[in-house]
Amino acid sequence: MSEIHTSSSGESHGSVTSYVIGFVLAVILTVLAFAVVATHSLSPSGTILALSVLALVQVVVHLHYFLHMGGGSEQRWNNMCFVFTVGFVAIFIIGTLFIMNNTAIHMMSR
């Protein structure tokens, strides 16, 4: 019985291998992010860009290997919800930065 149980839920809930792969990737990406800052090997804007790319990749790694997000039909509602939230937050953050930056320029506070 337990065999059926494991095989039916093993894929969507992850295995030891998938957790270890996710963990190793996460450690590599984290160490890279810290190394970029600690070694000052890039220009300031280059460092920020590198950090953003590393963070984005790591978030995707965590979503896939730890939160088990995927493209399957059974996760359709989860994914729709997620896409809406990410879109909302992106508009929200970019919009805030744009408006506040614009305000600051016009008020000559910088």
């Binding site: 019985m1 337990s2 059926i4 149980h5 494991t6 039916s8 839920s9 093993g10 894929e11 969507s12 809930h13 992850g14 295995s15 030891v16 957790y19 270890v20 996710g22 963990f23 996460a26 450690v27 984290t30 992010a33 810290f34 970029v36 800052v37 600690a38 300031p44 460092t47 920020i48 950090l51 953003s52 590393l54 963070a55 790591q58 978030v59 965590h62 979503l63 730890f66 939160l67 399957g72 059974e74 996760q75 509602w77 989860n78 919800c81 997620f82 809406f84 939230t85 990410v86 909302f88 937050v89 929200f92 953050i93 805030t96 930065l97 506040m100």
Partner: protein, 201 residues
């Protein structure tokens, strides 16, 4: 009894349908994501408003940050191992992994509280500048979530003690906490990248 439950769960999981409880919790996490998004936006606007006070470059230490990050990252995989044990119905292993996750999380919160106490002691509290207000609000909100996660872990450990099988209801609770815990790790990725590391550039 255990036999019955397992068969039932297997039947329900046939097409990997998540229970409505887990989906509802996912929706909650998305709203939580909006809270953190707004706090990140606030921080991004105020990140250079030092008011003559200390900047992130002067306050943050990369070694402490590395230890905090490592603790949270390792706690993610230990919780994952706990979930695998739960699917195999190995309750003592689940309790052991949850315990390890709890200790790692506790270490994280302890380091964070210590960091905050040192900063406030040095006169760099949330009342010093807009930058520090935004910093404390954002990072402490994350820390508060982790603390709630710790309470939740203890609750589930107590509920699991002395039981011999993991019914579907318990599995849902463990799955929700799993989502919560891994979600907090994702928020922490954004925190250590944009709040700490970006200030040290």
């Amino acid at each position: 009894m255990a036999h019955d439950t397992t068969v039932q769960t297997a039947g329900h999981d046939e097409h990997h349908h998540e229970s409505p409880v887990v989906f509802g919790f996912w929706v909650y996490l998305m709203t939580d994501c909006i809270i953190f998004g707004s706090l990140f936006a606030t921080f991004a606007v105020l990140r250079n408003q030092f008011n003559g006070g200390p900047s992130g470059h002067q306050l943050f230490e990369i070694s402490g940050l590395a230890i905090e990050t490592a603790l949270l990252l390792i706690s993610s995989i230990t919780y994952g191992f706990g979930m695998i044990a739960a699917h195999k119905n190995e309750i003592s292993k689940v309790i052991m992994w949850l315990g390890v996750t709890f200790l790692l999380g506790l270490g994280f919160v302890g380091l964070e509280v210590n960091e905050f106490a040192n900063m406030i002691h040095e006169g760099a509290g949330p009342d010093r500048s807009a930058f520090l207000s935004a910093f404390f609000t954002l990072v402490a909100t994350h820390g508060l979530h982790v603390t709630c996660g710790l309470i939740w872990i203890v609750t589930l450990i107590v509920q699991l003690m002395g039981t011999t099988a993991i019914p579907e209801r318990m599995m849902n609770k463990l799955t929700c906490l799993s989502l919560f815990w891994h979600f907090l790790d994702i928020v922490w990725i954004c925190v250590f990248t944009y709040v700490y590391l970006a200030s040290m550039v």
